[in-house]
């Protein structure tokens, strides 16, 4: 993921953190399934907290992986 200066959610005025929308959440996890840190994604603290909650719920429902294999 490219380093970004602006919080994606602030910029898009998006407050909808839906754990069922795994497509959107996938933008904020690495190919290994880890949550992308704020210093890389640029997400502000408030939105990162909500994002974290949504990703963890999605993981519980197997919509997102807890850990993913990287094939080379």
């Amino acid at each position: 993921m490219e380093r970004t200066k602006f919080c994606w959610f602030c910029r898009h005025n998006d407050e909808d953190f839906d754990y069922k929308n795994d497509k959107k959440l996938r933008r904020f996890i690495t190919e290994r399934g880890k949550i992308v840190p704020r210093r890389v994604s640029g997400v502000c603290a408030r939105h990162q907290r909500k994002l974290k909650q949504a990703i963890k719920r999605a993981r519980f429902l197997a919509l997102l992986p807890y850990r993913a294999e990287v094939f080379r």
């Binding site: 719920r57 992986p65 807890y66």
Partner: protein
């Protein structure tokens, strides 16, 4: 009354009719126990990110509803005891959340019944 959302995964090996009956059963449970179902939707059959009970895929459905907090433990136990439910998640959903979902209806979300 508070606003909640329950998402659950139905074992898709029981057949389409049984899945529908299963969703209906949970809707009825909420309705018959002092809750009010606001919206029912589904994500369809999805492949899991990791196996659950040796299954690789399942049918995702969610119900948004109004209920008093005491309903939740009984709802939980009925979901837990149901063999066809592979997993469930009950969360307190903000009202705004549901209205937003009604507005931007995603293609895989079914209409309110």
């Amino acid at each position: 009354m508070r606003f909640y959302e329950v998402t659950f995964i139905v074992d898709d090996q029981i057949g389409e009719e049984s899945i529908k009956a299963e969703v209906k059963k949970i809707e009825d449970f909420i309705g018959n126990n002092g809750g009010k179902v606001e919206k029912t939707g589904s994500l369809g059959t999805r492949r899991f990110a990791y196996p659950i009970k040796k299954r690789e895929h399942g049918y995702y459905s969610f119900i948004q509803f109004w209920a008093d907090p005491p309903l939740l433990p009984s709802l939980e136990s009925s979901l837990r005891l149901d063999e066809a439910i592979l997993r469930y998640l009950i969360v307190a959903a903000p009202k705004k959340h549901s209205e937003e979902q009604n507005r931007e209806e995603s293609p895989e979300t079914s209409e309110e019944r």
